[in-house]
């Protein structure tokens, strides 16, 4: 039996990553695409089916026709090709599509982007040398130092005509203007711009960066290079390629045009969804900005200091309420009829943030209006939990933990330190803490979405409680 998840915003990075995760676990995913207004039904069939073909073959599953059928027609039936999420009703079943030994884990399925069978799981070629451990800051600095040493030699050779410069590079590296590029590479291996002309040496620091972000950047970059699915992937990555046009379709993933703020848009999306899939099992409400536009932006922090003088207005606060609290309510109202079917999973998942926790939040880095709207969302979730729980609905309230330094500070050890984070010496720790999360954002999003997919899809030990749960399973008070 097919299981269908419906994600409010598929273009928002967390929603995009979650969509990929659920697809990789055998779910059909339908979602809203606020950026594809008016383009419905006019997507390039050939590009889409080529994308599907690559996708399915890459997984070693030949189930989906490799060419030809328009995704609209085929997608409507979600053609079979592999065991389905229906298996979740037999927890002991061999496939275990959504059941792993732990929530969020499934040993049978390569987790990751879900977009490629070759490069999206640990131990695959896409990861390169596999130690099973994340690089430690010290080791990283050391290897960066080695690479930089090579870079220095290369630099010295390349500038051999300028003898004084070359000798200076060897003897007094710190003062040599000619080697400034190489030393930039020491400080910021990921950037490596200064050493770009030293092709061999510059590759080293970049490799360090890739290893640190092993789930995110490298794989998605590969995917982006050769698959139409890359558009979708890129939409999920901040700093990725410019998002253009519609999200591509493939067999298990279907994007609907949806500007959720427009009157009637959700009702229209509900009608389209009813045509595509008879039922919604899992409703994911990822309204608003789940991933900060600029991670740990200090100017945002200082503007929130002042409330009335700091950029927030009544209009922005009302708009926050509309976005974070009312849009999910409208979505539940519009889509609930599609969830009522007796055989459905009947699960509603709210994506929120700890900044809406009255006990834990209220810090100066959160705009007041947004924090208030998120708290209202928690109340809304509780009221629906009280009401619909009587009819067999279950609920999830999730904090992806992606709110810049707030999330990073509260989540030590969640991810590897960013490349170069520790190479500035004593002064590095304070700025690093304030200026960006510990891991690269794409890696954090992928990691959080992977946990969320399990958290949302799997049964929970205690469905009688509604708890704001973070991406490491930690519980946040209201």
């Amino acid at each position: 039996m097919d299981r269908t998840a419906w994600i409010l915003n598929l273009r928002e990075p967390f929603g995009a990553a979650l969509g990929r995760e659920l697809v990789s676990r055998g779910w059909n995913v339908i979602g809203g695409d606020p950026g594809a207004e008016g383009e419905t039904g006019e997507r390039s069939v050939s590009a889409s089916s080529a994308g599907e073909a690559g996708l399915e073959q890459g997984r070693g599953e030949g189930g989906y026709a490799s060419a030809g059928p328009a995704p609209e027609a085929e997608g409507a039936k979600f053609s079979p090709g592999r065991p389905r999420a229906g298996d979740i009703e037999e927890p002991g079943g061999a496939s275990g599509w959504t059941h792993g030994p732990h929530i969020g884990e499934n040993a049978d399925i390569p987790s990751g982007t879900g977009a490629s069978g070759l490069s999206d799981f640990e131990g695959s070629v896409g990861y390169g040398p596999e130690s099973g451990e994340r690089p430690k800051p010290g080791a990283q600095a050391e290897s960066a130092g080695i690479e930089a040493g090579e870079a220095r030699e290369a630099e010295a050779v390349s500038e051999a005509s300028d003898e004084s410069g070359a000798f200076a590079a060897v003897d007094e590296p710190g003062t040599a203007g000619g080697t400034a590029g190489a030393f930039e590479a020491v400080d910021e291996p990921g950037a490596a711009s200064g050493a770009a002309n030293l092709s061999g040496a510059a590759a080293g620091p970049e490799a360090v960066g890739s290893a640190a972000d092993r789930t995110g950047i490298a794989n998605d970059a590969e995917t982006a290079a050769d698959s139409p699915a890359a558009d979708f992937t890129a939409a999920g990555e901040r700093g990725g390629a410019e998002v253009s046009g519609a999200l591509p379709e493939h067999g298990r993933l279907h994007a609907l045009p949806l500007a959720a703020g427009r009157p009637g848009a959700l009702e229209e999306a509900a009608r389209l969804t009813a045509d595509l899939a008879g039922r919604i099992d899992l409703l994911v409400l990822n309204a608003g900005e789940i991933v900060p536009a600029q991670p740990a932006d200090r100017s945002e922090a200082s503007s929130a200091l002042g409330g009335e003088e700091g950029g927030e207005t009544t209009q922005s606060r009302l708009s926050d309420y509309e976005t974070y609290a009312l849009t999910p309510l409208r979505a539940v109202s519009a889509l609930l009829p599609l969830m009522e079917d007796g055989g459905g999973l009947k699960r509603i998942c709210f994506v929120s943030s700890r900044e809406g926790s009255i006990s834990a939040g209220g810090g100066e880095e959160s705009p007041v209006g947004r924090a208030m709207a998120r708290t209202a969302l928690h109340m809304q979730a509780k009221l629906l939990f009280n009401d619909l729980g009587r009819d067999g609905y279950t609920f999830r309230l999730y904090d992806p933990g992606l709110n810049g330094r707030h999330g990073a500070a509260a989540a030590p050890g969640s991810s590897a330190p960013g490349p170069g984070a520790d190479t500035h010496g004593g002064s590095a720790s304070a700025p690093a803490e304030h200026s960006r999360p510990a891991a690269s954002l794409p890696a954090s999003i992928a990691e959080s979405a992977r946990f969320a997919a399990g958290f949302f899809a799997n049964p929970h030990a205690d469905e009688e409680r509604l708890v704001l749960t973070g991406s490491r399973g930690e519980e946040w008070p209201f």
């Binding site: 200091l305 409330g307 009335e308 009544t314 606060r317 009302l318 309420y321 509309e322 609290a325 009312l326 309510l329 409208r330 539940v332 109202s333 609930l336 809406g356 926790s357 009255i358 006990s359 939040g361 209220g362 810090g363 100066e364 959160s366 007041v368 209006g369 924090a371 208030m372 709207a373 998120r374 708290t375 209202a376 969302l377 928690h378 109340m379 809304q380 509780k382 009221l383 629906l384 009280n386 009401d387 619909l388 009587r390 008070p477 209201f478």
Partner: protein, 249 residues
């Protein structure tokens, strides 16, 4: 000589009127926010306390009205010591479950008054509070804003507005507590008031019965309901009801 000045919102009737009267009895000058110019009760109170009660036209959902009220108060005094955010509304559509169509305009209206109103008032009156002696800011919230204890199955507009209010208070608390401000969050109980338009005669408490413990809590430094008074921990923001019980967020 006037010792203390207070601003009370929603003072036309109900709990706000009772709070204003309680303050007048204690010798405070009260700037009483009035949303209903034709409602007689506040005028009658003004006649009993000439010069001590100042009626203040005030719609807490409007930026301009709130700023005008702050300017009007500033003409009469350079500081206030106490701000009581009492004004609140409810909707007659509370019982509509999610399976019924929701009135989103109404939900926004309730949010404008109940949630943004007190935040707006606090921000507008900060300069006056800053020069005051007590820097005490009080909020009439509700158990309906407690997510942890919520047992309702609808009431989206009201419950969401009060939960959001509590968060707004927490944000203000985080920002202003270091500057010496102190905060009170109060659940007044189920009162016989006009909040839904008509007086609710089924409710448990007369407004004055809730206003008395409210003023003890708002003005005091100790909890009067305990068997022996205990000092309020000003560095911890909590919501307490008329019996002194703490409600979870």
């Amino acid at each position: 000589m006037i010792k203390h000045n207070a601003v009370v919102t929603g003072a036309d009737r109900g709990l706000g009127l009772a709070l204003a009267e309680g303050l007048l009895v204690r010798g405070w000058r009260v700037f009483a926010g009035s949303y209903l110019p034709d409602w007689p009760q506040l005028k009658q109170l003004e006649e009993r306390y000439p010069g001590m009660l100042v009626r203040l036209p005030l719609d807490v959902s409007s930026d301009t009205s709130v700023l005008a009220a702050a300017a009007a108060v500033e003409e009469r005094t350079r500081s206030i010591d106490l701000l009581i955010n009492n004004a609140g509304v409810i909707t007659d559509k509370s019982e509509d479950s999610i399976r019924a169509p929701q009135d989103y305009e109404d939900i926004l209206r309730v949010y404008q008054v109940n949630s943004l109103g007190p935040v707006r008032m606090t921000e507008a009156f900060l300069p006056l509070l800053e020069r005051g002696e007590q820097k005490r800011i009080c909020y009439v919230s509700s158990e309906a804003g407690s997510i942890g204890k919520a047992e309702r199955t609808a009431w989206f507009a009201y419950c969401m507005s009060k939960a959001a209010l509590n968060m707004g208070i927490k944000s203000l608390f985080s920002r202003l507590r270091p500057d010496g401000y102190t905060f009170r969050v109060y659940h007044p109980g189920w009162m016989k008031t006009y909040m839904s338009g008509e007086k609710n005669e089924q409710a448990e408490l007369e407004p004055a019965e809730s206003a008395a413990p409210a003023l003890d809590y708002f003005l005091g430094a100790a909890l009067p309901w305990d068997e022996k008074p205990r000092a309020v921990d000003e560095d911890r923001l909590v919501m307490r009801d008329w019996q002194g019980r703490e409600w979870p967020w």
